[in-house]
C-alpha cells in the first residue's frame, strides 16, 4: 500500500473508530473520575445523533454543490 493511500486512509478515520477505542479500551483506573457504563451508553446515543447530523450536512452540501454545478 503506497503512502498516499495510507495518508488518505488515515484521514478517513471516522469518529466511530476513535470512539470504539477511547471509550471501550485502554487503561481503566480505579478511583477518582472515570466514565461509568451509563455514561458510555450516553456517548453512543450522542454519537448516533452526531453521525446522522453529519450525514444530513453532507447530503445538504452535495445537493448545494450539485445545484451549483447545474447552473
Amino acid at each position: 500500500m503506497d503512502m498516499t493511500r495510507q495518508q488518505t486512509l488515515k484521514q478517513q478515520v471516522t469518529l466511530l473508530e476513535l470512539v470504539d477505542r477511547v471509550l471501550n479500551k485502554g487503561v481503566v483506573l480505579s478511583g477518582d473520575i472515570t466514565l461509568s457504563v451509563a455514561n458510555v451508553d450516553l456517548v453512543y446515543v450522542g454519537l448516533r445523533v452526531l453521525l446522522s447530523s453529519v450525514a444530513t450536512l453532507e447530503e445538504q452540501r452535495e445537493q448545494i454543490s450539485a445545484t451549483g454545478a447545474a447552473r
Binding site: V13, V19, R21, V28, D32, A38, V43, L47
Partner: protein
C-alpha cells in the same frame, strides 16, 4: 467520593490523564520535552511518566459529565483532542493509552496511581514497546461476490445464463433462485473469510484480536462488514502491510475489500488487569 468533593470550588483543577509512557524514553525525546501540545505536561513518577493536562474538575465532575457527554460538539472536540495528544506522543515514544475522561483530583492522586501500579504498567509498556496498533476491517460487495462465485460454481453460472436468457415469469423465478443460492453461499463465506483474514494477519503481527463488527448505521458503509480486527505490529510495519496487500489481492475477486486504520496507540493490547472490558 468524599464530602470535600461535594463542595467543589468552580476553579479547582484536576489532572486529565491521556496515557502513560516510560520516563527514560520520554526524557530522551527532545520534542516531547518541548511539549506535546498546549497545556500537556509530563508528570514523572519513578520510571513512568503520565501524559496529562490540568483540567477544571467542575467540567469533569460526575454530576456535570453526563450533560457534557450529551453535547455533541464538546464530545467530538474532547475525543479528538484525547486521540491527537496520544498520536503526537506515539510518534516519539511507546505509550499506554488511557480511556477517555480519566481524571485525577490532584497531582498526588495521579502520582499515587503511577507508583501503586508501577509493575503492571511497566510490564504493559514493555509489551507495546516499539509497537503500534492498526485496525483492519473487511467489507463485502455482494455483486462482486456473486460474480466471483459464478466462476467456480457451475450451478450459479448456469442459473446466470438462464436468467439472462429467460423472459417474464420464468426469468423472475430463475432470478430468485439465483439470489437465494448466492445468499446461502454468502452465509457460509462470511465466517470463512473472517477466519482466513485473521489467520493470515495474526501470523505477521506481534498479536491480534477480532473485534465486534460495527453496525451499518454507524459504519455508514453500504457494503456489509464481515470482519473487524486489531493488530499489534512494529511501528515500522512493512511486513504487515505487504501481507495485507497480498491478502487484499487474493480476496478481491471474492468481493472482499480491506480497510486499514491507524497507527493507533495500543488501546486493544492493554492487559486485562489494567483495562477490563465493560461488563
Amino acid at each position: 467520593m468524599t464530602a470535600a468533593t461535594a463542595s467543589l470550588n468552580r476553579n479547582d483543577l484536576g489532572w486529565y490523564l491521556y496515557g502513560v509512557a516510560a520516563a527514560d524514553e520520554a526524557s530522551a525525546s527532545t520534542s516531547l520535552a518541548e511539549g506535546v501540545a498546549e497545556a500537556v505536561e509530563l508528570v514523572a513518577e519513578g520510571p513512568l511518566v503520565g501524559v496529562a493536562s490540568r483540567v477544571s474538575l467542575a467540567e469533569f465532575d460526575e454530576t456535570t459529565l453526563p450533560e457534557r457527554l450529551r453535547d455533541a460538539v464538546w464530545l467530538e472536540q474532547n475525543i479528538r483532542a484525547h486521540e491527537q495528544v496520544l498520536e503526537r506522543v506515539l510518534e516519539d515514544v511507546s505509550v499506554l493509552p488511557c480511556r477517555f475522561c480519566t481524571v485525577y483530583r490532584n497531582e498526588a492522586e495521579l502520582r499515587r496511581f503511577l507508583a501503586e501500579r508501577r509493575d503492571v504498567l511497566q510490564a504493559a509498556l514493555d509489551r507495546v514497546h516499539g509497537m503500534v496498533e492498526v485496525g483492519v476491517k473487511a467489507f463485502i460487495d455482494r455483486d462482486r461476490f456473486a460474480a466471483g462465485r459464478a466462476k467456480h460454481n457451475d450451478v450459479i453460472r448456469q442459473l446466470e445464463s438462464q436468467v439472462s436468457a429467460a423472459e417474464g415469469g420464468r426469468g423472475y423465478m430463475e432470478r430468485r433462485r439465483l439470489e437465494q443460492l448466492v445468499a446461502s453461499e454468502l452465509e457460509g463465506f462470511r465466517g470463512e473469510a473472517a477466519g482466513r483474514i485473521h489467520t493470515r494477519l495474526v501470523a505477521v503481527a506481534e498479536d491480534g484480536l477480532p473485534l465486534a463488527l460495527q453496525p451499518p448505521e454507524l459504519s455508514r458503509r453500504e457494503e456489509e462488514m464481515v470482519f473487524n480486527g486489531a493488530y499489534l505490529v512494529p511501528a515500522e510495519r512493512g511486513n504487515f502491510e505487504a501481507e495485507l496487500a497480498s491478502l487484499a489481492e487474493d480476496l478481491r475477486d471474492q468481493g472482499i475489500d480491506l480497510e486499514l486504520t491507524g497507527p493507533w496507540p495500543a488501546y486493544n493490547f492493554v492487559p486485562e488487569e489494567l483495562g477490563a472490558e465493560w461488563t
